[in-house]
Amino acid sequence: MAGNIKKLVLGFILLGAIGIAPRFLGIISLNMAVELAIGALFAVSLNLLLSYTGLLSFGHALFFGMGAYVMGISITYMDGITLIPAILMGSLAAGLTALIFTPLLVRVTGTAFSMLTMAFGQLMYVLCIKMRGITGGEDGLTLFDMPLLSVPGVFSLDMTDPATLYYTVMGVVLISIGCMWYFTKTPLGGVQAGIRDNAQRVEYLGFHVSASKAVIFIISGTFAGLAGCLAAIFQQVISVDGFLRINVSFMPIMAIMIGGLGHFLGPVIGTIFLMFLNQMAMRYTDKVELVFGIVFIMVVMYAPYGIHGLWVKARIYWGIFRHRKGALGKEERT
């Protein structure tokens, strides 16, 4: 109970900090926070799949890009559309793509699943380049005339203003992550961990493994699509390199690994760490890839459960240390 209150207080402090941040941060830091939040949402959506069903997707950029492209295309070709329907269309399109692929995907596991997702991701990448007429090819779509995020007569927000963008993205990301967290606590969400550990047992419990996998795959895809929409709004350019390349799929995997596999908020920590690392590396050297490579190797070798794992370990050691100290203290007293 005390732990819960502590967490609640911590949450409120964090929320407050996010709320007042624009007063203290410059545009650069604000934009970095936006980028971070989008990256975190994308990584959490992938983590939903990875940590809770043990399915590693190598082609999650497919959904990220699908969301962005559908949103971008609807803005470019549909006159007078506002942002909210465009975003909805983007996310739903990503979810729909996931739905279309589910019959193929749910029947495979392990490496085959990773390979199949990668194949579709790459296929989408190539197709987007080929369909130059709609997607703009390598140059992509530019959204320099961003429509307003508005409900007519209620409110209207300008997404080119950094602070407004910041609040909007933060709000959407927090709500989305909250939704996903809530999902993991529902009975169906609980089953996902079961699928990862022992698919057969889940079948015995009366849940259909394939259907459960399909549901989580679609949810994960939809939120990845939403992250893509936000990224497109932020960057104002939707290009294959920025949204569909294989690196885009790898980044959230890295974030999950670094943050800590199997922990819901691990990817958020991982995204923050990667962002920070990128900034530091850029400041001091041109060899950003070298720094990243070495960090990945170190993480896998010495902290296989990422930052969260290190934290747990540290707590255990701290516990042992305190226990010993306490014992010592008692001895002294007696």
Binding site: G26, I28, N31, G137, D139, F144, Q235, N278, V288
Partner: protein
């Protein structure tokens, strides 16, 4: 009239000289007049904290897979900046100001590019941004720059649509050519040549298609009897060009028109040689010293290259620059810059240098760093650098200059051991520059 006439050049040159005599303050620097011997591309030092400097942000990939590209522009712009700095700098606000270059690493990724551009604008507080390879990156760069009212000088992105009515903003200038200028230049070159069967082999993306379309259109106008015997678009970074080349051989083409750049162009040249082909390649990037060196004698003799600033060693200004560059190159030890690729300047390797000199001339003419003043000064500005005339079209901010086409010669007296362009044909700007986009309001 194929070559711009010499009298015209002399006239403008005289005017310029007279201007120098009468107005000492107007132009404080001259290209190549500085202490270029102390220039070292690997260790360019800029005193960023000094007061009264002109800060220029470079928006290029300096890390990641495309880092080589950033290095090329870092060298070119650094050259001009070093030259100007050692002459005391640029006369602005009544003071001689030195130039400081600040890297903004795009990593060739849109997200990183946006971050880098914003950092340049807001944190480093640069006065001007130069960029950028990759038209999607350049689009982001010019958009961010316009948002914070910074001049953006596009020196490396050729896409015609980058300055169309949707993307144009008044703070962006393009000093390099567009894809259609390159293609038109090449087509005009073939107007009076015997070859008439062409095969087009381009990269399968916007740039390649744009080039091919423009070439075909221009060729149809200047050479109605020419035939396009085949057209292929290959994906970026092809491993093996052999299937394409064998197909071309079967099509009985006389020239292969290709807009490919490295590494595709290198690979193409290499495998062209391995298959024992004799049909010459023609395009903007076929003059790559590394690729030509690797195929051995006769080093791609007969290839045709088209470039905005192909240096003509018969021309005084050009020759000076080329020789100064070559002398310097012999001293560069860093593997980044010591390869044959950098042995001679010209073609892609001179474009940004010239653009930098031009920009500095404009700043000096404007006399202040206020972006609106610079915009007003640059629009319609004309200048001569290394003997070539450059003018800025006011309505869409596209640089206008002659396009240069040449056959590659070997052996030759000028380029030590390597192949090079000898008799350069200048295609006059008015023939090749596309009409300005109609939607822009100044263009009507």
């Amino acid at each position: 009239m194929k070559v711009l006439n010499v009298k015209g050049y002399l006239f403008v040159l005289t005017l310029l000289m007279m201007g120098l005599i009468f107005c000492n303050n107007c132009i404080a620097f001259q290209p190549l007049a500085g202490d270029i011997e102390t220039f070292n591309p690997s260790f360019q030092y800029f005193d960023e904290d000094a007061d009264d400097v002109i800060k220029i942000g470079l928006l290029w990939p300096f890390s990641g897979p495309a880092a080589a590209n950033g290095a090329i522009y870092w060298l070119q712009i650094g050259w001009a900046v070093h030259d100007i700095n050692t002459q005391g700098g640029v006369m602005v606000d009544g003071k001689q100001k030195k130039i400081v270059l600040i890297k903004g690493d795009t990593q060739m990724e849109p997200a990183a590019a946006k971050r880098a551009a914003e950092k340049l604008c807001l944190q480093d507080n640069v006065d001007i941004i130069m960029g950028s390879t990759g038209s999607h990156i350049a689009a982001i760069g010019q958009n961010v720059a316009a948002k914070y009212k910074k001049i953006f000088v596009n020196m490396a992105s050729y896409s015609d649509t980058l300055m169309d009515q949707d993307k144009f903003n008044k703070y962006t200038f393009r000093t390099c050519s567009t894809t259609s200028m390159l293609a038109n230049g090449l087509a005009h070159f073939y107007a009076n040549r015997p070859e008439k069967d062409f095969y087009i082999l381009c990269q399968d993306y916007a740039y390649g298609h744009e080039f091919a379309e423009n070439f075909v259109q221009a060729l149809a106008q200047v050479r109605p009897d020419a035939r396009i015997v085949g057209k292929d678009f290959h994906p970026l970074f092809v491993k093996d060009f052999a299937p394409y080349l064998s197909k071309i051989q079967g099509a009985n083409a006389q020239v292969i028109i290709t807009a490919d750049y490295t590494p595709d162009s290198n690979n193409l040249t290499k495998q062209w040689d391995q298959l024992g082909m004799t049909i010459p390649l023609a395009g903007p990037f076929v003059l790559n010293p590394l690729a030509l060196q690797s195929i051995g004698e006769p080093y791609g003799k007969g290839f045709v290259t088209v470039q905005s600033c192909l240096l003509d060693l018969d021309k005084p200004g050009n020759k000076e620059f080329a020789l100064a560059w070559n002398t310097q190159w012999k001293r560069w030890k860093d593997p980044l810059y010591s390869t044959n690729l950098f042995q001679w300047t010209g073609s892609t390797l001179a474009q940004a240098t010239i653009g930098t000199y031009w920009l500095m001339h404009v700043i000096e003419k404007a006399g202040e760093l206020n972006p609106d003043k610079i915009v007003a000064t640059w629009e319609g500005d004309q200048t001569i650098i290394f003997g070539n005339l450059y003018s800025m079209r006011a309505c869409d901010h596209q640089a206008m200059f002659n396009m240069h086409v040449s056959e590659i010669e070997w052996p030759n007296d000028y380029y030590e051991k390597s192949a090079g362009p000898i008799k350069v044909t200048a295609i006059p700007a008015e023939k090749i520059v596309p009409p300005p986009p109609k939607g822009l309001k100044n263009c009507q």
